[in-house]
């Protein structure tokens, strides 16, 4: 499964947008800085993934779970992200459950109404 090189990069425009949102208005970001951040992000994905895979293996499992990723983030010393990340994760899970239950209602047999 060969990936094209650009597939392993994260889009520059998106990275730029993320960064502009958190910096004060009117801050100029050099092209090199943007490219550097995009590359750093890709490398970070690999870094977290590799740490999470190690945890999966050490647990003698095969499939990565959300919990593995959270543990991995602590392993690589980015504990400061764990709390806000966990909060976002809870919201995400709640959202997915709500979505699923909404989709599920369409599939269920019609309820017998008394």
């Amino acid at each position: 499964m060969a990936e094209k090189l650009e597939d392993l990069n994260l889009p520059l425009t998106v990275v730029t947008r993320i960064v502009k949102e958190v910096l004060p208005d009117g801050v100029a970001i050099s092209k090199e800085a943007r490219t550097g951040l995009a590359k750093a992000a890709s490398v970070f994905v690999l870094y977290v993934t590799s740490a999470a895979t190690n945890i999966v293996k050490s647990n003698k499992k095969k499939t990565m779970t959300g919990q593995d990723v959270l543990e991995a983030i602590k392993d690589i010393e980015f504990d400061r992200f764990v709390e806000p990340l966990s909060e976002a994760f809870e919201q995400y899970k709640a959202h997915m459950i709500a979505k699923k239950s909404l989709a599920g209602k369409r599939k269920k047999k019609p309820m017998k109404l008394k």
């Binding site: 499964m1 994260l10 970001i29 800085a33 550097g36 994905v45 993934t49």
Partner: protein
């Protein structure tokens, strides 16, 4: 843990709080050895934490500079000075000009060999200078 939906990911709407494309993040994750399937939950978390990481690094780099600009140099400095960012050091070296590199080498030669320096910070690729003599 909530049961993971094994549906095709390209039918999944991207969670509204994410900016980075999850399909791309998934591609990167799968390029890593020993990664099998990547379910939606780990995928969400990796994507989200990567966004946090970018924001964090950008803010730190910006705060370390004095102008109203964010430049590569600021980011490279943060990376070189923080050990938790060791994994980035190879791809984000500090950059110096060819002239600076030559001056540095000349200084080292004058002082004699210093065996404790691994000179991993220098790269001379940021400027094009045509000849060897600098001034």
């Amino acid at each position: 843990m909530a049961a993971q939906n094994p549906r095709h990911d390209h039918h999944t709407t991207k969670p509204k709080d994410l900016h980075l494309p999850i399909s791309r993040v998934k591609t990167i994750m799968k390029s890593s050895p020993d990664v099998d399937a990547v379910g939606p939950e780990p995928l969400y978390l990796v994507t989200k934490v990567t966004e946090m990481f970018v924001i964090d690094l950008a803010k730190r780099a910006f705060n370390s500079g004095k102008n109203n600009t964010l430049e590569y140099k600021h980011i490279a400095d943060v990376v070189q000075e923080d050990d938790t960012l060791d994994f980035l050091r190879e791809i984000m070296p500090r950059k110096i000009t060819v002239r600076q590199f030559k001056e540095l080498m000349a200084k080292k030669a004058a002082k004699g060999n210093k065996s404790d320096d691994d000179s991993s910070d220098q790269s001379s690729d940021s400027e094009n200078e045509s000849s060897g003599s600098s001034e």
